[in-house]
């Protein structure tokens, strides 16, 4: 169990760091698109590591003690929750960005904006 606990602690440390960075980036960046970068990407990456730590713990208990159905079910359902989180986050970020651009929100400090040029034509 010692090795598994160490792996879990390392994963949890990485995940909490990225979650904190994502939430702080929500306050540091100037406009909506860059906030979307920080929030969506960093929290998704942190959530991957934290849920992986849960999977490692439950799979370790399942493998070591054996014949313990609740931990096996928890392992499989945590994987499903991770897959649902990844798919919905990517699609939701795309939908939010498109809605913001069509409602007329300009990207701050932008060097070039091809989509605006296309809409002006």
């Amino acid at each position: 169990m010692g090795v598994l606990n160490t792996i879990s602690y390392v994963f949890i440390g990485i995940g909490l760091f990225f979650n904190l960075v994502g939430v702080i980036g929500l306050h540091r960046f100037p406009d909506m698109y860059t906030r979307l970068h920080a929030a969506t990407k960093c929290t998704t990456f942190g959530s991957i590591f934290i849920i992986t730590a849960v999977i490692v713990q439950s799979a370790g208990i399942w493998a070591l003690e054996g014949a313990y159905p609740s931990q096996s079910v928890m392992c499989i359902h945590a994987v499903l929750a991770l897959v649902a989180l990844l798919v919905t986050n990517a699609t939701g970020a795309h939908a939010m960005a498109r809605a913001a651009h069509r409602s007329g929100e300009k990207p701050a400090k932008a060097v070039v904006d091809d989509l605006q040029e296309k809409e002006n034509d």
Binding site: V73, V87, A90, V111, V112, D114, K118
Partner: protein
């Protein structure tokens, strides 16, 4: 045929969700029967929505390519996240929205590419032109070399992801 595929996929998802319901076997009998009824109902209702005309995703080589694709994808994702964390801490940003043309013809491959771009290197797919299959990408730190010619080079944004998407879904 499309009814059969939809019902099978729905039944597989149901089986994964209800695993371990019984202590003796993996599933007990009532769950199997109810799942079969629900899967037939879902297949009858959604057979025209779930799958299109072509059946090329039934090829297991494409699924194997998708599993192999996860590894370079995860490395690019880790690199991008460290980069974004660096930009959050220092505050150095240089954003832009650029248009790229990845030469994909299929809806599924374009979806895979757009989701990959959203989850990786400081880039975020904002909009798609449905006639020409061009993507509009918001980039947090633009490379000045890309700005020279008008059909933008997509290699700095997404390395070889269009090739992988073409291999998986076309």
């Amino acid at each position: 045929m499309s009814f059969l595929i939809t019902a099978t996929v729905a039944y597989l998802i149901y089986l994964v969700l209800t695993i371990g319901g019984s202590a003796v076997l993996l599933w007990n009998r009532a769950e199997l029967v109810i799942g079969a009824v629900c899967a037939v109902a879902a297949g009858a209702l959604l057979k025209n929505r779930f799958i299109g005309k072509n059946l090329r995703m039934l090829n297991p080589a494409r699924w194997f390519a998708f599993l192999v694709y996860l590894f370079p994808f995860f490395f690019a994702m880790a690199k991008a996240n460290i980069d974004v964390a660096y930009r959050v801490i220092t505050g150095r940003i240089n954003p832009a929205i650029v248009k790229i043309n990845p030469n994909l013809k299929n809806d599924l491959s374009l979806t895979i590419l757009a989701n990959s771009i959203t989850l990786t290197p400081g880039t975020l797919s904002v909009d798609v032109d449905e006639k020409t299959n061009e993507l509009y990408v918001h980039w947090i730190n633009i490379d000045p070399k890309v700005l020279k010619d008008m059909p933008r080079d997509y290699h700095p944004i997404c390395d070889s992801f269009p090739d992988w998407a073409r291999r998986i879904a076309e």
